[in-house]
């Protein structure tokens, strides 16, 4: 089962490898990883996505919590979190197929960020699953290159 973890860490060398090591030692692969600044100086947020067994995850979460540089760890669940990701796709786009591609892009809210005679670079910001759908849709046209930032997320806004 896939899980998204959000970890607040002190900006210190090695913090990331201490965390990733806890997955690696069990043979779990981190599917996506995004690290960046937060509202607090000296504190970074790591968002990571991993496919691992529930029991292991509980154990790993507790072990991450124990790390000296870790301030907080929470699991982001789809119902309680806003999740986003950015992707760039370079898609083969000969003139005769361009129209279809632009229609897909329009539907998914993907933008053209660069253009050549035979290809288009699309950029898309959205929920990771929407990115997956767009990727599926354009794959038959020929994805020449692709990059995704890995998902980031925050808890939903307080409603009351």
């Amino acid at each position: 089962m896939k899980h998204t973890l959000s970890v607040l860490v002190e900006d210190k060398p090695g913090a990331l490898s201490r965390i990733s090591n806890l997955f690696a030692r069990r043979g779990y692969n981190i599917e996506s990883l995004a690290v960046g600044q937060t509202e607090r100086e000296g504190v970074s947020r790591i968002t990571l996505r991993v496919d691992c067994a529930e029991h292991s995850l509980e154990q790993i979460t507790k072990q991450i919590h124990k790390l000296v540089n870790v301030l907080r760890i929470t699991e982001l669940t789809p119902d309680d979190a806003v999740e986003r990701e950015i992707a760039l796709f370079t898609v083969a786009a000969p003139p005769e197929r361009r129209g279809e591609l632009m229609a897909f892009a329009d539907h998914y809210g993907a933008r053209v960020s660069d253009l050549g005679p035979q290809e288009i670079v699309f950029e898309m910001v959205g929920h990771p699953e929407d990115l997956d759908s767009f990727e599926e849709l354009v794959r038959p046209y020929g994805i020449k290159e692709m990059v995704r930032t890995g998902r980031i997320g925050l808890s939903r806004a307080v409603r009351h």
Binding site: V9, E10, P13, G14, S17, R18, N21, R25, E58, Q59, K62, Q63, H65, K66, L67, V68, N69, V70, L71
Partner: protein
């Protein structure tokens, strides 16, 4: 504020932490710190340094010191091979939760990453086996880092930390002031005890018919032995202690059952497995205790007292988890029990009778033979030291360790120091040297095997030269005995690479070369006299080897094969049953 070099600041920081002795080996990238130590000692510093003969020895000495004293052990090494040689000791301390501060030199910050001479990424290599580590590249960061290192090593579940300090940081100057407090916003080990859980625990304890305390090394690290004793006596609940918990509850006490696990007494395993309530205290349900987890204490509810949240529910679900420091948690439990208990409660008397009957039915046993039996040697050592004021035992790893666990009687915490989790052969001698440095008035005896002895015997030199005399009782059976036992029982008697017999080494000569008194004993008649002489020589300041030539075929029983359960216990002499298990 005093102006000084980073190297001076390391020494001053160790002094500020109250370190009286540290263990290590100098080298190029830590030479400045050793120079600072020399100058400090010349100016009257009381900080003592024990020069080990190998960094692994320094690490195990620091462990032995820590476990004998309850203080943080300190090991110092240079970069590269110095740091890598420390790794086994760091891993050992990690597995057995021994508080250790390891200080390593590192190449100058300008050379890091260039594969400079004796460069190794010490923080990287040790990453999975430390609570935390620091690479220090600025002299000004040394005092706060060492302060933090000691704090992390001994708070929460204790364990090893590493401080890797570049040569230029040791040479540069700083204004020294040792900080009063640490700044570690992410380090928050549990401090509080949840009262609702304590109430639930007390209720469960009073309702149970067959309760048992299952106590691990945490009882010793957590300094909670006195509270455990009070609890057991108040409730009349029996106690099993694990290998690392040995001595955490007085073994001569009527409520003491024994050690559970692969080579534990059958009655301890029966008691633990038939219980309806397991009160786990400072322990982690190690596979050498549980065997097959699904068959372990199948009918028991579990209360788990543990300071490390990550250990609760890891192997066995706890119905009542109590994540807190053990000492205050047990104090609260005592108070709550006193409140809930009715006057004149007798406790689980039927259960205690049952355990007593198992003890009668399945005692530890062995048969005498033509050659010395290891068990015979252990019993003799146990009896000859009975009544001595303060005895600290250390062991290597293997058969001799298991016999030591079975036959020695430890009534006090910090009297049995062994490598439990990592199972580090060669741990015993250096750990004994460290223990002697911590408790110079104690008689420190290492029970060793011939495989282990060949790994770390050189530290007898350290014992001799530093006035840290120890006794080594060598159970010499000519084999890597535990592996040999498995080969005999489970691998068709194919003794692959376990034979240590042959004309060399001459163990007695080795010991003598290291400055120890040596005696070789081959029959029971010589045993007591040799041990008496060993104690006398040791009391006079000499290290002693008692080289006991034992029956190579003797095996450790009872035994629960790996992954099996208590029902599959192989008892002494029942080799047929072993064959059955092998065939399965």
């Amino acid at each position: 504020m005093t102006r000084m070099t980073g190297a001076d600041a390391i020494i001053r920081s160790l002094e500020a932490e109250g370190v009286d002795v540290c263990f290590g080996v100098p080298g190029g990238m830590i030479i400045d710190t050793y120079d600072a130590l020399y100058r400090a000692q010349a100016n009257g510093s009381k900080l003592r340094h024990v020069l080990a003969r190998h960094e692994q020895g320094a690490g195990h000495m620091a462990e032995g010191y820590a476990r004998a004293s309850g203080k943080v052990g300190v090991a110092i090494a240079t970069s590269g091979p110095g740091a890598t040689n420390l790794i086994t000791a760091i891993a050992d301390a990690w597995m057995d939760s021994t508080p250790l501060v390891c200080i390593t030199g590192q190449v100058p910050s300008t050379k890091i990453g260039t594969d400079a001479f004796q460069e190794t990424n010490a923080t990287g290599i040790t990453l999975p086996i430390v609570k935390h580590s620091w690479l220090v590249q600025k002299a000004s960061e040394i005092p706060a880092t060492i302060k933090a290192a000691f704090h992390v090593a001994q708070t929460g579940r204790s364990g090893p930390v590493l401080v890797d300090i570049t040569k230029d940081a040791q040479i540069a100057e700083l204004d020294f002031k040792y900080p009063d407090h640490v700044d570690l916003p992410g380090w928050n080990p549990p401090r509080k005890v949840n009262h609702r859980q304590i109430m639930a625990a007390a209720k469960a304890i009073l309702e149970a018919d067959k309760p048992i305390f299952y106590v691990g090394g945490g009882i010793i690290n957590g300094e909670a032995s006195a509270e455990l004793l009070e609890l057991a006596e108040l409730t009349n609940i029996p106690v099993v202690t694990t290998l690392t918990g040995k001595g955490g509850f007085p073994e001569s006490h009527p409520l003491y059952v024994g050690v559970p696990g692969m080579h534990g007494m059958k009655y301890s395993n029966l008691a633990l497995n038939r219980a309806d309530l397991v009160i786990a205290v400072g322990t982690r349900f190690d596979d050498r205790v549980t065997g097959n987890v699904s068959a372990f204490a199948p009918n028991a509810k579990v209360i788990h007292f543990e300071v490390d949240a990550a250990e609760i529910g890891k192997i066995r679900e706890a119905q009542i988890p109590i994540c807190a420091p053990l000492q205050p948690a047990l104090v609260r439990l005592l108070a709550e029990l006193r409140k809930q208990m009715s006057e004149g409660r007798e406790g689980p008397t039927d259960w205690l009778d049952k355990i007593a009957a198992w003890k009668e039915e399945f005692p530890l046993r062995y048969e005498l033979g033509d050659m010395l039996k290891p068990q015979q040697v252990l019993e003799a050592v146990r009896d000859v030291t009975e009544g001595l004021g303060d005895v600290v035992w250390t062991t290597g790893v293997g058969q001799h360790q298991m016999w030591a666990m079975q036959y020695l009687v430890c009534d006090r915490p910090r009297s049995f120091i062994t490598s439990g989790g990592l199972g580090t052969m060669g741990f015993g001698i250096p750990a004994a040297v460290g223990a002697k440095a911590a408790r110079p008035d104690a008689t420190v005896i290492c029970i060793d095997g011939d495989g282990c002895f060949q790994m770390t015997s050189k530290e007898l030199t350290t014992a001799t030269l530093h006035g840290l005399p120890i006794i080594v009782v060598l159970i010499r059976n000519g084999y890597l005995g535990m592996v040999r036992q498995w080969q005999e029982m489970f691998y068709g008697e194919r003794y692959s690479q376990t034979d240590l017999t042959g004309p060399i080494p001459d163990y007695a000569k080795m010991a003598e070369a290291f400055g120890a008194v040596a005696m070789t004993v081959t029959n029971a008649g010589e045993l007591d006299a040799a041990l008496e002489r060993a104690l006398a020589e040791n009391a006079a300041g000499r290290s002693v080897l008692v080289d006991a030539v034992c029956d190579p075929q003797e095996k450790v029983f009872p035994m629960i094969p790996a992954g099996a359960s208590a029902a599959d216990t192989i008892e002494y002499g029942s080799h047929e049953k072993a064959k059955e298990v092998e065939a399965r």
